[in-house]
């Protein structure tokens, strides 16, 4: 059921998204205030500022928005698929597989597109391994899927540690940035935008079924949902979304876990509201975090994954506290 409260929430998130884009365009080591950004859009003469805006800032902001949206949407799906509020996009080992492949290419001295392509390949490999091991002839149990994913994840973790401990100092630095999640090299292409859009549309089509599935497999089946088919769709959608996010920016933590929760605490429990709200808030949140990442210690840059946690942890705890007080009243 959608209420006025939900419309207000979505409208505020749209405003927040626009605001975040502006903040994201105007932060960085070259000083370019929000006013200057708007001016540059209408400036016919191409100068350094315009070049910075079009070639550096905008692609990076778009990459941040898309990555944040992908992660938050994937988090929503994983939480309902596993019926576990602690699930996040990486829980089934997708980022582990991507990390091992990406780190291995860094170790070989490659960079750029090599690393992202390897990450995507590693993520896909991990998706198939977990799917192959977790599938049973009779049913898809959330517990079995979760256990398989967590164990495969632990296996990748061990391989990551082997790669880290056996690499030279130089490559360890790039590896750590990749592992913490970093947008400084990121360019999100049209393909990732299309994947986000397709995932969003597909999930909106299933949104009411997701509400039912959140009440458990049996209840969902009794209310007419083809549970096995829906779970298969959810697993592969969430996996591809995560793989795409990891390919763009490495494994940025926190967004996929916390954004859906924040929104649920703000009253968006119905997936028809939660899904669009998560994409908007996830995207905005990552753009803001990335703005901090490149301006706090400018001209140095922090990995954005560190900043998401620094901003996200207190914000989340505050909302959690508020909502507890409200429900106690």
């Amino acid at each position: 059921m959608i209420t006025r409260h939900h419309y207000i929430l979505l409208a505020l998130l749209l405003v927040l998204t626009a605001f975040s884009f502006l903040v994201s365009f105007s932060s960085g080591s070259v000083d370019l205030g929000p006013g200057a950004v708007l001016q540059q859009f209408f400036n016919p003469e191409a100068g350094l500022q315009q070049q910075v805006l079009y070639e550096l800032r905008i692609p990076r902001s778009v990459a941040a928005f898309i990555t944040g949206g992908l992660l938050a949407l994937s988090g929503v799906i994983m939480q309902v698929l596993l019926r576990n509020p602690l699930a996040d996009p990486y829980i089934l080992g997708i980022s582990g597989g991507a990390a091992v492949a990406a780190l291995a290419t860094i170790l070989l001295g490659l960079s750029g597109a090599w690393v992202s392509n390897a990450a995507f390949g590693g993520a896909m490999l991990s998706i198939l391994i977990v799917f192959g091991l977790a599938r049973s002839r009779y049913q898809w149990s959330a517990t079995r899927l979760l256990l398989t994913g967590v164990v495969v994840s632990a296996g990748w973790g061990a391989m990551i540690n082997i790669l880290l401990t056996t690499s030279s100092n130089n490559s360890v630095y790039s590896m750590l940035f990749w592992l913490m999640g970093d947008l400084s090299q990121s360019r999100a292409g049209l393909l990732s935008a299309l994947i986000l859009l397709a995932g969003f549309v597909l999930m909106m089509l299933q949104a009411r079924s997701l509400n039912v599935l959140a009440r458990g497999d049996l209840q969902a089946a009794a209310l007419g949902v083809d549970v096995a088919r829906l779970k298969l769709i959810l697993y592969f959608t969430a996996s591809v979304l995560t793989a795409c996010a990891v390919t763009i920016a490495g494994s940025i933590g926190f967004v996929g876990l916390v954004i859906p929760h924040m929104l649920r605490l703000l009253g968006a429990r119905d997936h028809r509201v939660l899904i669009p709200a998560s994409v908007l808030l996830g995207g905005s949140f990552l753009m803001i975090a990335d703005s901090f990442a490149r301006s706090i210690v400018a001209p140095l840059q922090l990995p954005v994954g560190v900043v998401t946690a620094i901003i996200g942890v207190p914000t989340f705890l505050l909302i959690l506290r508020r909502s507890q007080q409200r429900s106690a009243e």
């Binding site: 059921m1 089509l205 009440r215 089946a221 009794a222 949902v225 429900s327």
Partner: protein, 271 residues
């Protein structure tokens, strides 16, 4: 399928078709046979009670009837049509079940939960309209939950959650109600109240009810027929009056059960 026809035509099946019929139904769990050659019929307006010791297959029978478990042999007909011929969603517009246990870890309000009962009646893109909301509201009111509509279900007590689950089933408006331990967590007033609401619907609209319970007195009060599962594939089936005797019950439960008559009814208790 057009959603409107699905929603509006719903209830009227010909009165002479049984709501539920099984022919030579056998179900096993692993190597153990739960029941063999079961021929059940629930006519429009009838209530069937399923009794038996723990692990005799009461829940398995209900799950089989709603196609959540495979049969070993035999047929199940719902409203005159073979169970497997129904699509999941169509079936959910005719058949509703109250499960014995549900664990609600994911947050949702009471109202949002009750509205899920409307899910099978709505086409994919449709939102719940005023009628659906009115239906859910009426169901919640029938379960005395109108003051809790905006509460999160994860904050409710066990009995309140059971009432939300019953309200969700009422909002679903099925033609056959399958209830697994409807009295779970409920105080005695709500046990009676919820079954009275359902029974009134069943009788006045010509629907069916099949409930599995441990409460012999509840079954005696609300059911026309009793299926008493006695284990090893054996069972007794007949009218409530014929089946609910101290001898049958004592044998089925392996514990002495006595009966006391009062004002036209009777009460069973262990003796």
């Amino acid at each position: 399928m057009a959603s409107n026809s699905l929603r509006k035509d719903s209830i009227n099946s010909p009165r002479n078709t049984p709501i539920l019929q099984t022919r030579a139904l056998s179900v096993a769990m692993g190597a153990r046979e739960l029941f063999r050659d079961l021929n059940l019929t629930i006519e429009a307006g009838q209530c069937l009670g399923v009794l038996g010791q723990n692990g005799t297959g009461k829940t398995s029978l209900l799950h089989t009837l709603i196609n959540l478990r495979p049969t070993d042999s035999g047929d199940i007909m719902i409203l005159g049509r073979e169970l497997n011929a129904w699509s999941r969603r169509e079936l959910a517009t005719r058949l509703g079940i109250l499960f014995q246990s549900d664990n609600d870890d994911m947050p949702a309000t009471v109202m949002e939960t009750a509205l899920l009962g409307r899910h099978p009646h709505l086409a994919r893109w449709r939102w719940e309209d005023a009628d659906d909301i009115a239906e859910a509201r009426a169901a919640l009111t029938a379960m005395n939950l109108e003051a809790l509509m905006e509460r999160d279900i994860t904050t409710l007590s066990g009995g309140e959650r059971q009432r939300v689950a019953i309200a969700t089933l009422l909002a679903q408006r099925p033609q056959l109600y399958l209830l697994d331990e409807p009295g779970n967590h409920l105080d005695i007033a709500f046990q009676i109240r919820s079954l009275e609401v359902i029974r009134r619907r069943v009788v006045s609209e010509g629907l069916g009810l099949c409930m599995a319970t441990h409460d012999i007195n509840l079954a005696a009060r609300f059911c026309d027929q009793i299926l008493l599962l006695t284990g090893d594939g054996e069972f007794l089936l007949g009218t409530t009056h014929d089946i609910l005797t101290p001898e049958n019950l004592s044998r089925a439960y392996g514990c002495a059960i006595r009966q006391v008559a009062y004002e036209g009814g009777s009460v069973f208790f262990p003796g």
